[in-house]
Assembly symmetry: D2
Homo-oligomer: 151 residues x 4
Amino acid sequence: MTSEPPPQTRFTAEVVLRWGDMDAYGHVNNVQFHRLLEEARIRAFSEWFHASGGDSMLRSGVLLARQEIEFLEQLTYRPEPVAIEMWVTHLGGASWDMGYEIRDGDALYARAESTLVAFDLAAQRPRSLSRDERSALEALLGEPVAMRRRR
Amino acid sequence: MTSEPPPQTRFTAEVVLRWGDMDAYGHVNNVQFHRLLEEARIRAFSEWFHASGGDSMLRSGVLLARQEIEFLEQLTYRPEPVAIEMWVTHLGGASWDMGYEIRDGDALYARAESTLVAFDLAAQRPRSLSRDERSALEALLGEPVAMRRRR
Amino acid sequence: MTSEPPPQTRFTAEVVLRWGDMDAYGHVNNVQFHRLLEEARIRAFSEWFHASGGDSMLRSGVLLARQEIEFLEQLTYRPEPVAIEMWVTHLGGASWDMGYEIRDGDALYARAESTLVAFDLAAQRPRSLSRDERSALEALLGEPVAMRRRR
Amino acid sequence: MTSEPPPQTRFTAEVVLRWGDMDAYGHVNNVQFHRLLEEARIRAFSEWFHASGGDSMLRSGVLLARQEIEFLEQLTYRPEPVAIEMWVTHLGGASWDMGYEIRDGDALYARAESTLVAFDLAAQRPRSLSRDERSALEALLGEPVAMRRRR
């Protein structure tokens, strides 16, 4: 499955597969796709929120409120990383949505979308995004994820 | 978060947590929710497709085409299982959609929905559901999953 | 592979497998054997250290210092749990060794041994075992693990 | 904890951590150390057995018969890989032992040793190492792993 090149406002994380990501079907397990997305997100955060102190988002806390994924191509282990493109699809006061594409060149293995909530772990409640966090996310605002399998 | 009791047409799998499902935030990691759903599905399949030879669905092959989840409550490890309620939300010729709720009594931790495709692993292509498979799935047809966080 | 029945001083945890524990070879992955042992240990601790407040050991902290395993039989997923027998093979001031056998009836899938250190997570250093903890562990003192593959 | 530089006959795999490797204690979980060792091994095999067709060892089959690990330092997630040094500690007709050190510069997080068995997956029995496989392994023969915590 091929698709057009990603636009400029995306951030790409190279995420390395592990042989152990494969299941008894001999391909990367569906659950492990979410592990790859999590790792891409973590790597993106340390770049995006650099002005706010790098891993401040992770240290203060961020929760996943929603995730949706469409699996397009089977992926098998290889030593080379996959490219996970990320961009922002919606920006709220304490939360944002982000899109992902798991790619290798023209191949598109999966598209996904998450809702993330900035969360004060100590107080155990959502917190407002800071000005630095908002401007980092705004710079990556892009189109909605083109989900095709929702009924 | 509480919600009304599940209707009759649901199938419940008791899925056991592991301490290792928790992440550095001290709660069950978002990725592991998908592992719990996978395990519930596997256990459901061996019941649902009993007439077609028990694990025939798994042996011949079934792929996950889509998954959507809303995380409602944080879950922490305890020795007792969670109850994962499952039902069918759409039935096609070679695929079906199913809903899930991860519960413990009145608590609702997550709701989710999957699209599954009966897949011929040898031929590497979708295959039609058999009559026995269809009638097993039809018996569990129920309401759509009430997703509330889609934009 | 069969072997003699376990002696009286062992504690048994029933640990449930997951389909996702299998790897591309179609059997439970070697790494996941360690996950099963971890889960058995966690369940044992809440029993053993009941007098000291149940999960006190986990909350105050315990680190794994060493682990050794011999894989004897391939294990494939099934809905039934495996039995993990545990006993104590050495008792020190701040640490202890424990043996494990992963079994199903007469079948013995793996034998293993761990060294565990009671650890003060706040101070980040080992701490002495309490009197209650020692007496719980003493009650399970048994023979060394009969490792056969060390060179 | 520091230690002398590794000798020449070692093979180094750079293995990338994932945030999800951490557990509720906020450090890389003991089980995931085995996942890192597995990944290092897989990457080593494709180099070592290049003359025998690259991933021939994996495709024909190789089983882990034994593993021993000593945990020396707690490891926390960071985007940079760890270096896993590997060498051969014993060479048999159908099996070999290999040593590992998980390092980052002078820091030594863990040392480990595995026994691996060349295994014919189709026939489900051990097979002899080929001449190419033996000579690849011989080139990496080195000292035993200096385990210090065995009783």
